[in-house]
């Protein structure tokens, strides 16, 4: 036991190993989180689509009990047996509740595993590669769609940093000083997937879909990049962790209600920030190829869009790529405008102070057992709370994405282009000048 602890101490004491191990752990956490969110957002999408259209959505998918029978259980109605075993009469309210929960048929999960069922279905489907496609690109395209958003997510901070006895862990996979640029670069890369898919399919409608995706992405990348500049001017940093830290201390970009956020300058800056927010969110919608901007897969005029020729898991990876882009996009909006992991109302600063104080009391010789445990855990508790805040915000924003999808009809392609080049571009440029003026004149 002592040997293991010594080993651990020596490994973690080395800064390189410490960095490597924590980074891999964070990487795994972020990856799992994103993929879970993809699955969850499919479920959220379908359920909310249902509710908005006055129907339940997929609420039935559970683990059917007859599967158990397949695996050897001869019992036809395990529920009845279990009720008898616990001595519950068949017409009591407990039995009725169990029946209402469909426990007699399945282990209910309220449709939560519907995405898994869908995934399994897609996995088992026949993989068709038409003879006329350009094979290499055809196979590479889905990877180009799925990969870049996952890489882009590396710079998203999902919690603040925590001090351990081996050093500080920054809760963000790669704490890059060019975080915002990194995200733009990689989210822009994902369009290569769509373009390649459209082109390699060697078929006219997918080709038009791919072209549309390219045109749309270039247009909205411009608007997106310009819309974010006022924000970067305000925070004067490109590091996402620092941006969030700043927001935690001085009020979220859109909710400046504490710290320095109460100054006149911040309140006047709220106008350009709101404009930035509108342009940025719209551009994120366009970038993630979501309705009302899903021109690239507009099934009414393009058969299926860029993925017409795809089937089975290749098709599914396009689908997943789209959802990953959506999740990463929402996370980015939250990080930049809604305080990222920050709990809000100055609570982050208080919690950080509390954690520090607890650590000092805990390391004291005179500390009780309880105090020393708290001293060790306080930092982690704060980080966990902030992580929960991040997740809650992320779910809320994913809900918003879905909500918009089932409200707005698709734009026409010329309208999409017009909106970007004739409206957003100009407004974003003016917005930059406005922010500069405010920053210069109102101190």
């Amino acid at each position: 036991m002592q040997f293991i602890i010594d080993c651990w101490n020596s490994v973690m004491g080395d800064p390189t190993w410490f960095y490597l191990i924590t980074t891999i752990a964070k990487l795994a956490l972020m990856f799992i989180l994103l993929l879970l969110f993809v699955v969850l957002s499919v479920w959220i999408e379908r359920r909310i689509a249902g509710w908005i259209q006055d129907r339940p959505g997929p609420n039935r998918t559970g683990i059917p009990i007859h599967l158990l029978q397949r695996f050897g259980s001869k019992e036809k109605q395990p529920l009845k047996k279990w009720l008898e075993y616990f001595g519950v009469p068949a017409n009591s309210w407990i039995a009725k509740l169990c029946t209402w929960l469909r426990l007699d048929r399945e282990i209910p999960l309220f449709g939560l595993i519907q995405p898994m069922a869908d995934g399994a279905k897609l996995f088992l489907k026949q993989e068709m590669t038409p003879s006329y496609v350009r094979k290499g690109f055809f196979i590479a395209a889905p990877m180009f769609v799925l990969g870049p958003p996952l890489i882009a997510a590396a710079v998203l901070p999902f919690s603040s940093s925590v001090d351990t006895c081996y050093g500080a862990i920054n809760m963000c996979v790669a704490n890059l000083n060019i975080g915002v640029l990194w995200i733009f670069a990689f989210s822009g890369l994902s369009v290569y997937g769509l373009t390649l898919a459209g082109w390699a399919s060697n078929s006219k409608f997918p080709f038009i879909g791919g072209l549309r995706a390219t045109a749309q992405l270039i247009s909205y990348e411009v608007a997106m990049g310009l819309s974010i500049i006022p924000l970067l001017m305000m925070f004067s940093t490109l590091n996402l962790q620092e941006i969030v830290q700043n927001q935690a201390e001085n009020g979220w970009t859109l909710v400046p209600l504490w710290g320095e956020g109460l100054s006149l300058q911040r309140w006047v800056l709220l106008l350009p920030m709101c404009i930035s927010f509108l342009i940025f969110v719209t551009s994120v919608f366009a970038e993630a190829n979501r309705t009302p901007f899903d021109m690239a897969e507009c099934e009414t005029d393009l058969v299926g869009g860029y993925h017409t020729e795809y089937s089975s898991m290749k098709f599914a990876s396009f689908f997943m790529g789209e959802y990953v882009a959506m999740v990463v996009g929402s996370a980015l909006v939250i990080t930049l405008f809604l305080g990222g992991w920050s709990i809000g109302l100055g609570a982050d600063v208080c919690l950080a102070d509390w954690a520090k104080a607890a650590a000092i009391t805990g390391s004291d010789q005179a500390a009780t057992c309880w105090q020393s445990i708290l001293g060790c855990c306080a930092g982690w508790i704060v980080v966990l709370l902030q992580f929960v805040a991040f997740i809650v915000k992320l779910v809320a924003f994913v809900f918003f994405f879905v909500w918009v999808r089932w409200t707005l009809p698709r734009f026409r392609f010329d309208q999409v282009m017009k909106l970007s080049w004739l409206v957003f571009f100009e407004i974003a440029v003016i917005n930059i000048l406005l922010t500069a003026a405010i920053l210069y004149f109102i101190q």
């Binding site: 249902g50 509710w51 908005i52 006055d54 129907r55 339940p56 959505g57």
Partner: protein
């Protein structure tokens, strides 16, 4: 003038920047969401729905009593009120069937039986429910009013062999119909 130009409405700036309209739309859909979840959707009573929104959760709540009269379910064979087999195995349904689901093997009627006048009756009559597309052409083409579309819509099989329905099954499902065909009566 052969055409009248449509007068396009002039949109104000507020209309053209969409934001108000989008907000209104979002409110409308959110209202539907909340009403569906709190089980207060509009026209819910009309449907007598027990699920979320306007849905009738299918296996628990059926809409059988709402089936329209013209609903086309599984095709069945019927007997007359004198329990006469109406089918005279003319095979018109077999020929018209676009999915080739029907197979008729004609047979003779026993001269001693009360409906000997019709001379022919099917020896075998099978409908392959895996092929049937419920188009109702067999019912339409039948000169003897012998084949009818029933209102049975729930054809869920656990056994492939049960998908091919033979004469007995079809007669059992079809039952007895009254009136309409009297030309094989002895008095005529």
């Amino acid at each position: 003038m052969s055409y009248t130009p449509i007068k396009r409405p002039k949109f104000s700036l507020a209309d053209r920047i969409y934001i108000v309209a989008i907000a209104k739309g979002l409110c409308r859909t959110f209202k539907h969401l909340v009403l569906a979840l709190t089980r207060r959707s509009r026209h819910r009573e009309d449907f007598n729905s027990k699920g979320i929104g306007l849905c009738m959760p299918f296996p628990e709540q059926r809409w059988d009593e709402r089936l329209p009269e013209y609903y086309r379910g599984a095709p069945t064979l019927v007997r007359g009120e004198d329990s006469r087999e109406r089918c005279v195995s003319c095979q018109l349904c077999e020929f018209i069937c676009p999915a080739r689901a029907i197979t008729v093997t004609p047979g003779e009627v026993d001269p001693a039986s009360p409906c000997a006048k019709q001379e022919k009756a099917p020896k075998e009559f099978t409908i392959d429910m895996f092929r049937c597309i419920y188009c109702g052409m067999c019912e339409e083409v039948c000169p003897e009013q012998a084949i009818f579309m029933s209102q049975e819509y729930l054809i869920t099989l656990t056994d492939r062999d049960k998908g091919i329905r033979d004469k007995e099954t079809l007669y059992k499902l079809g039952g007895v119909r009254k009136g309409l065909v009297n030309k094989w009566n002895d008095h005529k």
